[in-house]
Amino acid sequence: MEDLRDPYQAERLATLAPEAYHTRRDFLMRTAAAAGLAAGLGLVLDPDTVVAEAARRQRQVSLPSPRNLPIDTFVVLMMENRSFDHYLGWLPGADGRQAGLFFANSKGQRYETHALDFYQSCGFLDPDHSWDGGRTEMDNGKMDGFLRSASDEFAIGYYTEDKLPFTPFNAKAFTAFDRFFCSLLSSTYPNREYMHAAQSYGEMDNSLPFNPSSGEAGFPDTTIFAALDKAGVSNHYFYTDIPFSALWGEPGVARSSQVQDFYDLASSGKLPALSFVDPSFQGEDQGTSGDEHPLADVRTGQAFMADIVHAVMNGPQWKTGRIAVFCIYDEWGGFFDHVVPPRVPDLRSSTNLALDFGQMGFRIPAILVSPYAREGHVDHSIYGFESILKMIRYRYGLPPLTPRDLFANNIAAAFDFEAEPRLEPPALPTPPDVMAAQCPGTPPVDTGGAGVDGGALLGAPPGTVPVPARKPHDAYTMVTSGYLEYLGFDYKPATPATMFSHPSKLGFAT
């Protein structure tokens, strides 16, 4: 039977049976109605225009109803500090730029973007990704300030397709986004807060909501987790070493457990409706964290991402087709990008850019992994972290958390729900669990007293000469401030055994 909703089939029918005037008349009138036009207009307007209009409208309204949305399990894996152009600027079909861009520093010296041939950024600055630094880099839309913030030329380096061991394969096997902006033109904490709650509670930086004297320990729990709890929908947060969920105090800690639980639940087909998964953060200053945040060896984080994706693809829930993994980064990390991010409605909008929480941050690498994801596709719609929240809300009938997710585009539109789900997962690489040696001259990593053989994340290789430490990841202040201890959370440094599902292959990079 001809499907009149398909414009190609409709045209074929019209061509093969021109004599069927009445049928055609009916067709045009019904198609006009489908296009939202007065039915009579279908008889006076050009048929192709009517059909094309119907097809466009169908694309725009093709989302299944929430109850019929064939996704009910969501996984959000959030890595750290990489921009779209820096990681995926090479991606075919995407709006990316890498080679041939020039940026001037504050002295007027010009530098060209350059391919990176190393994985661990020992000796370079952690590129500026602060509230003010981001505004310097954006430069009122000129996007030319990436070397005028507190960054060096590492910030305008990029990875080509052949360099990263997992993300390029992941992007080409599923759907990548080239208009996915981090929620806030600022650093890790507020962006992760937007991922959990569609707001940062007025925080512009990595401040802890912790004041023991006043009893303040955490933001009010207005997260997507709390909203799902209220609706009776399962959810959980999985950490590797430091739980960002603790920013919501005791309720946040209560919904958290170590990532080994994620692997177990994935393999047994019991992942909750929503899982947030975070990598290991500690060791940033030595270049040994698992989150891809400079100075980290990005191969470690890539191996972690691969582990999470494989755990889902190899689990029973993949076979149902009803699962989606969003592989995203918390912010751009100070790395160059060429697309100006939009300003959007926010709880704390301001016409003053210096105070505007509605200013989204630069693009990040973002990939949708799902049986319903188009293979090798690049989606060009504008999304942010709140777009994922909106899809979860849509699926489970939850009210908006803030104006952010109220006005956001629903990322469900990126799925292909009209196609058969790909229940046989594509062959993706399993990168060796490379763990770089810590940057030369940095102090030994906090191993929590565990020996290397006992599973310490990284021990200092023989011959390391200690020098003054760089700044650790700001997440570590949850440990050093006593915040986690105050909440009763027993912090343990990540080890290969706690980070990977199969740590036996772990080895130092050369």
């Binding site: 414009p7 190609y8 409709a10 045209e11 296009a35 939202g36 036009l37 007065a38 207009l41 307007l45 050009d46 192709d48 225009t49 009517v50 059909v51 094309a52 209009e53 097809a55 466009r56 694309r59 725009q60 709006d95 839309g141 208009r179 902006f181 697309v339 100006v340 991010p341 939009p342 300003r343 959007v344 409605p345 909008s349 016409t351 850019l353 505007d356 509605g358 989204m360 060009h380 719609s381 504008i382 809300r393 849509y394 009210p399 104006p403 109220l406 006005f407 585009n409 629903n410 539109a413």
Partner: protein
């Protein structure tokens, strides 16, 4: 082999009336666009956009709302920095009234200046800071030389 609809009428750019889409609490602002799927190089391409919104949802705006549309190879994050042909860039009339449901329609046109599949990049934004209340990048137009 499938042939694109309307291949015999390449370049036709007929504006057709669109029904007023109804916003709802989940999608409080809806952009309903009417534009031909095919256009001819350097020939006028008309567009009509109807904006509908739930009662009160646009009350937080601090300046008049504009509908901004470009035809571009790649949509930027915002109208101003999207290279392409402007199809529509108008202040909406009427503007939303506080607490009321909203509907307004704007029309415009532009002349495509390059061939190939291009995207209709749409933003509903307020003047001044350009804050985007809705956007759409889902519509494609195929521009042919003839």
């Amino acid at each position: 082999m499938r042939r694109p609809v309307g291949a015999v009428l390449v370049g036709l750019a007929v504006l057709v009336p669109a029904a007023v889409a109804v916003a709802d609490s989940f999608n409080p602002v809806v952009l309903t666009t009417t534009i031909a799927s095919r256009a001819r190089l350097h020939k006028s391409l008309p567009i009509k956009v109807t904006v509908t919104a739930d009662p009160g949802v646009l009350d937080t705006r601090t300046a008049p709302l504009r509908i901004e549309v470009k035809l571009a190879s790649e949509c930027g994050g915002v109208f101003q920095y999207t290279p392409g042909v402007t199809l529509l860039n108008k202040q909406l009339n009427p503007q939303p009234a506080t607490g009321r449901a909203y509907s307004a329609t704007a029309r415009g046109s532009g002349k495509p200046n390059q061939i190939g599949e291009q995207t209709v990049c749409e933003w509903l934004a307020e003047e001044g800071d350009g804050r985007v209340f809705a956007s759409d990048q889902s519509i494609q137009v195929d521009v042919k030389r003839k």
